[in-house]
């Protein structure tokens, strides 16, 4: 797997909880598109710039993901130009997954059809809730009806792979409203559901309100109960949980996200985007101006990069796979020369006994109960990394 991520840093209105890099003014969106085309060139393996971290890489990209921000603020024409340029500059597999994040409040049937024609084959809607008070709390610009309408439009435009985001542990939310949100979402039959517990991210307006004591966060007990409700409702409805917050119908897991979680490579473009190639992670400037200036000067717009040690790679691989669809034992041994089953004893035995972890013979995988305490298990699991002789390890 080999991913390609493009960050579109514009939103109509910032949501109170969001810490993604995005601007409320779309004034510079056209200039942004041109600059993005230049970065596509800069990082291209077929361009002479030589600055591409994946230079010489012949592997085809298996997924392309337009995230943000709100990529649906891009006109279909702009989207089309970007996609054409990507095809010119990168090898992209014919069956690649092309995802685009959309705000249910910014789509029309025409636009969706045009995106589909341009090559997008997967949509991701930030629905979050079907309860008006919750949507207001989160500062979402759409209402429940618009979410329903968006889904209908998506299906009519020919999208057979649609994700919806759902949020729980929102202050004021009850088990009843969550249950209502879930059933409304299931009625729309998305192919994929991302269900997140609300995070109070530093620097967001929501975090400031929390610090001022204006918000009572959901208690751990209720958060846990809500999470359990989400997991059972969605699994009962035929969705398979393949990551802490992600559920999919069979065959509809998001390939792009699995790229992150399986420790595979991905190129990233656009302000604040993070890319990862072999052992190196880079991140672009988190400022449209800084990013634009660099790219237009013909330089990589990176704020920084880090090369991971074997220990760090091992830690990342373990925690990412554990929180997703499990750590493949053979692959782990091949990458790091470590027999995971014995490295995790005696804890692994306790976790299996308690029903937190399943060893299915090839993979160590968290159960629904296990996901609930995923970080506890992870912190404990990565302890062995310090004890493994580095000579045994190779970079993946």
């Amino acid at each position: 797997m080999f991913g390609l991520y493009l960050h579109i840093p514009f939103c109509e209105k910032k949501c109170s909880y969001c810490d993604f890099y995005s601007l409320e003014s779309t004034e510079h969106i056209d200039a942004f598109v041109n600059t993005l085309l230049t970065e596509i060139d800069l990082r291209s393996p077929v361009m002479p710039s030589g600055a591409c971290p994946a230079e010489g890489r012949v592997e085809a990209h298996t997924s392309v993901f337009f995230g943000g921000g709100t990529p649906s603020l891009l006109s279909p024409e702009a989207m089309s130009r970007i996609i054409t340029r990507l095809h010119e500059r990168y090898t992209i597999a014919p069956d690649a997954e092309w995802t685009m994040e959309c705000n249910p409040g910014t789509v029309t049937p025409e636009r969706l059809a045009a995106y589909r024609t341009a090559g997008i084959n997967r949509l991701s809607f930030g629905v979050q809730s079907f309860t008006a008070s919750e949507l207001t709390f989160l500062d979402r610009i759409h209402d429940a009806d618009e979410a329903v309408a968006a889904m209908t439009m998506a299906r009519e435009a020919g999208f057979d792979n649609v994700n919806m985001d759902l949020m729980f542990a929102v202050p004021g939310q009850t088990m009843e409203t969550l249950s209502y949100n879930l059933s409304r979402m299931l009625q729309l039959a998305p192919d994929h559901i991302s269900a997140y517990s609300l995070i109070y991210e530093h620097g967001t307006p929501l975090f400031a309100r929390l610090k001022k004591g204006l918000i009572t966060p959901t208690s751990e007990d209720i958060d846990a109960a809500m999470y359990a409700l989400v997991i059972t409702t969605l699994t009962d409805a035929g969705y398979e949980q393949y990551e802490v917050s992600n559920f999919a119908r069979p065959g509809k897991q998001c390939k792009h996200n699995l790229t992150y979680w399986h420790g595979e490579n991905y190129i990233a473009l656009g302000p604040s985007a993070h890319g990862f190639i072999d052992t190196t992670r880079y991140w672009n400037h988190r400022s449209l101006t800084a990013w634009t200036t660099k790219v237009n000067a013909g330089e990589l717009p990176e704020a920084n990069r880090e090369t991971l040690t074997n220990e760090e790679l091992c830690t990342e691989y373990l925690f990412l796979t554990l929180r997703a669809d499990g750590t493949p034992i053979a692959e782990f041994e091949q990458r790091f020369g470590v027999d995971l089953r014995s490295a995790l004893q005696p804890d692994l035995g306790h976790w299996i006994d308690a029903g937190f972890v399943i060893d299915n013979g090839t993979t160590l995988r968290l159960t629904g109960e296990g996901y609930r305490v995923c970080d506890e298990i992870t912190v404990k699991s990565i302890q062995f990394v310090d004890r493994v002789p580095s000579s045994l390890r190779s970079s993946g």
Binding site: F20, E220, H350, Q383
Partner: protein
């Protein structure tokens, strides 16, 4: 009213008697006439080290400009931070008397805290006199008496100094305090010097009294060398620096010396006296106090209390040494990470070079792995050792609950010494358990008699005697198990008497006790490092408190944790810690991974400091939970 403490007579038949007869040496040569060796003794905080500052200043040993900090002799950062003296400090001063005579004064500042009273007794043996400092607002307190008696036993001339007369409240207390002091040592009013170490009052008078009242040392510089080791310090470059008081003969560089007790010979490298830094003189004659080095790598070779003589002309009269100090309180010290065991051994080895009162022996625990059972003089000593290990030797350690050393008589009538509760033999093999008792002396205003009696009784004490030092000041003696005093007795005593009570104690004997082993079980598994030996009648309450405390200290885990206190198979208390309900960050995409990894790695470091028993992770603080019980 008879205000003289009743037991004083039993300890010292007559104080005046000692002053005149304790030094059976007849010779005082010309040089010696101008030496005075004295120490400063007092109850804790009565101002010994501050007085030393003034003396050093007045004699010009330290200029006012060099006096960059208060209590300048307290040169260990821990002493400065805590504002207390831990180690004796010797220093020589030159004093020009108004009479025109020049003197060399060897001063030793001593600690006041009861844990370090052995430092006082060693200091005394190098001196002919002592300044007994008494705080004008506090009056005679427990260590005032115990240190005074030690000095009297050594036959020292006592100069009473009433200090802190600058304090406004001294106006109302001073007459009473003067009377207490006069009653205590049987001196006349004019023999007491009124002083303020802080304001520099009475300093000249003290210096004059030192030369006038303290006898010069006696000894024969021509006789075979007899020098007493009263302290030794390990210096990484020169090896052991031995501090001595020369009684007879002369120490010269290049001399071949013999340590009489250990029978080791060495050639002297460097000989000198002690200023703020060591001052090489090449020679040290009878009557003087100073140091030498001889490339001694092992502190055991130069034992404190041993007599140094010349290898080729040894004395036949070794000086009577000191009673060896025995650790009273024991605790396990373990490396936080098991790989660091050898490092810790090395650090302890080095620390004991400078503090021979510490004992340590390897031991192991199922909960904590390999570590050491260490012995200390008391709780303050323990705290200081632990802090020095961390600060001076960069050790990350886990310490267990301190306990005393028990004497176990087995059914086969054998005696076993147990200083680690986990090593108590099976009850079926125990005939009886004995525990150390102390004789505790408490001095307090008489209004607190009831409170103090109650407190001591709760701690299984029995009163031995009660004497009024003055109409409103009482001196009480109790026989108490040391194990009951070790923890928070002193704090309790202080808080229930608004700080007015003072405590001194000395070891008395072992007595049989109704003692049982209390185990702590976490999810059914005993945690050996949490075991303690408690009195049967207190086991229930103790167990309850401990369980509650552990519940507070052990963080919630993925599983519910049951905490039980048990005696044998009988559970006497229990608590439980509910499991973590949810701990997972919802989002982790490309941009979050690096941050998330760092967060997890940080949490991992935190977890590393936890010890795991079965499924339960125990933070370090839990292993000395008892110390914070109330």
């Amino acid at each position: 009213m008879d205000v003289i403490p009743s037991f004083r007579h039993s300890v010292i038949p007559s104080f005046r008697h000692f002053v005149t007869s304790s030094f059976p040496y007849s010779v005082t040569c010309g040089l010696m006439q101008h030496y005075r060796n004295f120490c400063i003794i007092a109850h804790i905080d009565h101002g010994k080290s501050t007085l030393a500052d003034r003396l050093l200043e007045r004699t010009g040993r330290v200029t006012a400009r060099e006096m960059t900090m208060n209590q300048i002799l307290d040169d260990n950062p821990l002493e400065q931070e805590r504002g207390i003296t831990i180690k004796l400090h010797a220093i020589q001063m030159d004093y020009l008397s108004p009479s025109g005579e020049k003197y060399k004064l060897n001063l030793i500042d001593t600690p006041g805290h009861v844990d370090f009273s052995y430092e006082v007794s060693r200091s005394l043996s190098a001196c002919e006199g002592a300044l007994l400092v008494v705080d004008a607002t506090q009056g005679v307190e427990a260590q005032t008496i115990s240190n005074l008696f030690m000095a009297l036993e050594q036959g020292l001339e006592i100069i009473p100094v009433i200090n802190k007369i600058d304090l406004p409240s001294a106006v109302t207390t001073i007459d009473n305090v003067k009377k207490q002091v006069m009653d205590l040592i049987g001196c006349k009013e004019e023999e007491m010097i009124l002083a303020s170490a802080k304001a520099g009052i009475g300093i000249d008078e003290i210096l004059e009294a030192v030369v006038a009242r303290i006898p010069p040392p006696k000894g024969d510089p021509k006789a075979p060398l007899r020098a007493l080791i009263y302290d030794s310090i390990f210096d990484a470059y020169r090896g052991v620096v031995v501090n001595v008081r020369v009684f007879d003969g002369t120490l010269k560089e290049k001399d071949k010396i013999l340590f009489m007790n250990t029978n080791q010979t060495y050639e002297l490298d460097e000989v000198g006296v002690l200023y703020m830094q060591r001052q090489r003189t090449g020679i040290l004659e009878a009557g003087n106090v100073g140091y030498f080095t001889a490339a001694i790598r092992r502190l055991q070779d130069s034992k404190v209390g041993d007599t140094v003589t010349l290898a080729n002309n040894p004395t036949d009269r070794p000086i009577e040494g000191f009673r060896e100090v025995k650790p009273m309180v024991f605790s396990g010290i373990y490396p936080a990470e098991s790989d660091d065991f050898e490092d810790l051994r090395e650090a302890l080895g080095k620390l004991t070079l400078n503090d021979s009162a510490i004992s340590f022996e390897p031991e192991s625990s199922t909960a904590l792995g390999f570590g050491f059972r260490c012995g200390f003089l008391g709780l303050l000593h323990m705290e200081i050792v632990q802090e020095r290990l961390e600060r001076e030797f960069n050790q990350v350690i886990i310490t267990t609950v301190p306990n005393v050393r028990y004497k176990v008589i087995t059914t086969k009538n054998e005696v076993m010494w147990v200083d680690n509760p986990a090593q108590l033999p099976n009850p079926t093999m125990i005939n009886e358990i004995q525990e150390p008792y102390i004789r505790a002396q408490i001095i307090a205003p008489s209004e607190y008699v009831g409170t103090i009696m109650k407190l001591c009784m709760e701690r299984r004490g029995t009163m031995l005697g009660q004497t009024y030092l003055s109409a409103d000041r009482v001196d009480m003696t109790f026989n108490m198990p040391l194990g009951e005093v070790v923890f928070d007795f002193y704090d309790k005593l202080k808080s229930s008497t608004r700080g007015y009570a003072s405590l001194d104690y000395e070891y008395s004997d072992y007595e049989r006790g109704e003692l049982v082993l209390m185990d702590i079980l976490l999810n059914g598994e005993p945690v050996d490092a949490l075991s303690s030996i408690v009195h049967r009648q207190k086991a229930h309450e103790w167990g309850k408190k401990l369980c509650v405390k552990l519940k507070e200290l052990i963080p919630r885990q993925m599983f519910e944790v049951a905490i039980q206190a048990s005696i044998g198979s009988k559970v006497v208390a229990r608590e439980s810690i509910s499991a973590i309900r949810k701990n997972v960050i919802a989002k982790c995409y490309g941009g979050d991974i690096s941050r998330k990894r760092k967060l997890l790695e940080k949490q991992k470091e935190g977890k590393k400091r936890m010890k795991q028993v079965g499924r339960v992770e125990i933070p370090q603080e839990a292993f000395h939970a008892v110390l914070s019980l109330d």
